[in-house]
Symmetry: C2
Subunit: 367 residues, 2 copies
DNA sequence: TTTGACAATGGAAACGTTTCCAGATATACT
DNA sequence: AGTATATCTGGAAACGTTTCCATTGTCAAA
């Protein structure tokens, strides 16, 4: 009971270490650059040059080689390529082990760009912050990727000095990362985003504004820098103070980053005697929970209580949620794009060192 | 303006092709197995044996080697390992380019298992079905992965014969795949799942049951085998017929696989004079859209119209959605687990050839 | 003491590329 | 014709492992 590929693998896979003699192997081996060279009647160097698009090849020769490649169905072996030339055509993405929709959308953006440039994507995940250093060291030492995109978490513990000690020879770019000078990064101004959300609600006539956010409890989340909820909260409060609007701690609740918890929190907020007329949720996912709470209390969303989210994940548009767009997919695209450019040119463009993405309030049905 | 790693990379990275002479390089190179051997005063073969856990090493020697490895911070080069031994410690996952939550949960399961076994995960995505063959061939030829997990789509076009022609030497396992005899696969009985959902609603006293599903429009979706929505619909209809309940085509709507579209469809269904009292949504995401529609019409979810979904994605529990659980995360875990076992033992266990996962109705607040 | 068996070890060859250098060929200029 | 220059090409060496074979050392049995 074996797959067909299995049988082939067991019988011929990784063999061919000995049968060097017979020119025409009865069993088809995976063709190598040598086979191509022989077939085209040229040297291996020439084939390599053709593969890599070197201009130093006569047109006629190139033709012959390309034909031989096509006939044999040759595709260069990645490992050999990497071992010899130091290039893997692979980019790593390292993330906390989370499945937030926002993470997925960013990843999709990265994948999309890499795919168009024939780069592969290796996904690393970090479960515990202590793993981070070891993992980075491993990745660096194995030379399995050409570059690394750090997605949605903060390398707080990795200072300049520590990386120097690690001797990590790997270009790094961070997507969704607080501004720091150690690596290029793509980021948003969460405080400003909080202000924008609050400002929008104020402009809509709201004077009592609540907040549902993410409480930072575990050491991991803390060290990983999941501070966006806090920043957004700060931005909102700043705005409220400036506008001279009331601050009431009973209107602000923090909990786990999921809809269910957000629903509970919203229920609390909406049960106080002097309840707010609008709620700002730190993430869209939390906003969905808030909507559920409003529903549960028999209230109407835009009229009794307005809701604004943050992120603009795909589901937000389906749910007609008013929210702050932060260009999730695009952030991934940019990260990948800059990384590829870095790999091609040898250095990051100064402009790509510190890239802030614009935020936009998207007005839909909930506020 | 360069990252610190950048500078190192440019100056020393991939160099060391020449400085063979001086025993003590001033600039630290990435240590190789030879460095370890020298430091431990043994041969390279011995170091290799230690790394790979061969019993053919004296304890004392092993100690020395391990120490040298630790001191130098040595980590074996993946490319070299692969080129020589044919093993990559990497498993590929190939999927249609989609970001459905169900896909992500399966992927998370895979990632989780691989991570625990020090395997890397390479993510391939297919945008057009025509790519599939080329992509598979590439993956096979590059020998960049030890095995391939085909996730959430059907290799309909790849018959036994075609794969034989491709000479694909790669163990394959499919997760969320219709039963076929060509590869091992993990699957669910979608028809039975549809029956279960319908049966549940009937048991709850419903006699008029609607359906919101996914219309198969594009060639890609068609060829990729996105037939689960149809199967679930068939199961439901079978059950209704058996129970002698009414069939009314106005109650069944099909559209794009997102909340928004599902909302529209549900609005249609609930606007007919003789509307159903319960709706079965082919996916949880669609169920969320149905709930939105109910809300919009000023109806109450469990009382006026009941809703049952399918998949039991994470969000379903937050949303208190009654649904059919299909063990998404677990399906990924199993796929990865079986693949690793295959890689270790050389063949898939007969029991793992054809694995059906149980379905369970999860009763929550919406039906 | 000799022999045989076996465990432990060192090191060469092989994996399939890229890159560099030297050589060959063609072209242009004296 | 002879020389210089530019273009093209072949092939060896190198990348860092694993694996196999040969060699050494050890111990038990004769």
């Amino acid at each position: 009971m074996e797959t067909f590929p299995d049988i082939l693998w067991k019988r011929f896979g990784n063999a061919s270490k000995y049968p060097k003699n017979s020119t025409e192997d009865f069993f088809m081996r995976t063709p190598t650059i040598r086979d191509v060279a022989q077939r085209a009647g040229v040297g291996v160097g020439t084939v390599s040059r053709v593969i890599n698009g070197s201009p130093q090849v006569a047109d006629g020769t190139r033709q012959k080689v390309l034909e031989a490649i096509a006939e044999l169905g040759f595709s260069p072996n990645k490992a050999a390529r990497q071992l010899s030339g130091g290039k893997t055509s692979t980019v790593g993405v390292i993330t906390p082990f989370l499945t937030y929709p926002s993470f997925v959308e960013r990843l999709a953006g990265i994948q999309d760009v890499l795919d168009h440039h024939d780069y592969d994507l290796v996904l690393y995940s970090i479960r515990h912050p202590q793993q981070t250093q070891r993992k980075l060291r491993e990745i660096g030492a194995q030379v399995a990727v050409d570059g690394l995109i750090v997605l949605s978490f903060l390398l707080q513990t990795f200072t300049h000095e520590e990386l120097r000690r690690m001797n990590l020879k790997l270009p790094l770019i961070a997507v969704d990362h607080d501004p720091q000078d150690y690596y290029p990064h793509i980021f948003i101004d969460n405080v400003a985003g909080g202000r924008m959300a609050a400002e929008y609600l104020i402009r809509k006539g709201h004077r009592k504004i609540g907040f549902v956010g993410h409480v930072i409890e575990s050491a991991f989340e803390n060290e990983s820098g999941f501070t966006s909820s806090q920043r957004r909260f700060k931005g909102m409060k700043d705005m409220l103070l400036e506008a001279g609007l009331p601050i009431n701690d009973a209107w602000y609740q923090f909990g786990a980053p999921n809809e269910y918890s957000a629903c509970e929190q919203a229920l609390h907020i909406l049960s106080v005697p002097n309840r707010p007329t609008a709620i700002f949720a730190a993430y869209d996912t939390l906003a969905f929970g808030v909507q559920a709470a409003i529903d549960k209390l028999g209230m109407k969303c835009p009229d009794d209580v307005a809701v604004i989210g943050f992120d603009d994940v795909k589901a937000a548009s389906y749910m007609r949620l008013t929210t702050v767009n932060q260009q999730l997919f695009h952030s991934g695209e940019l990260g990948a794009q800059y990384m590829l450019e870095r790999l091609k040119t040898g250095s990051f463009k100064p402009d790509h060192w510190h890239v802030e993405l614009a935020l936009t309030v998207i007005e839909r049905a909930t506020a």
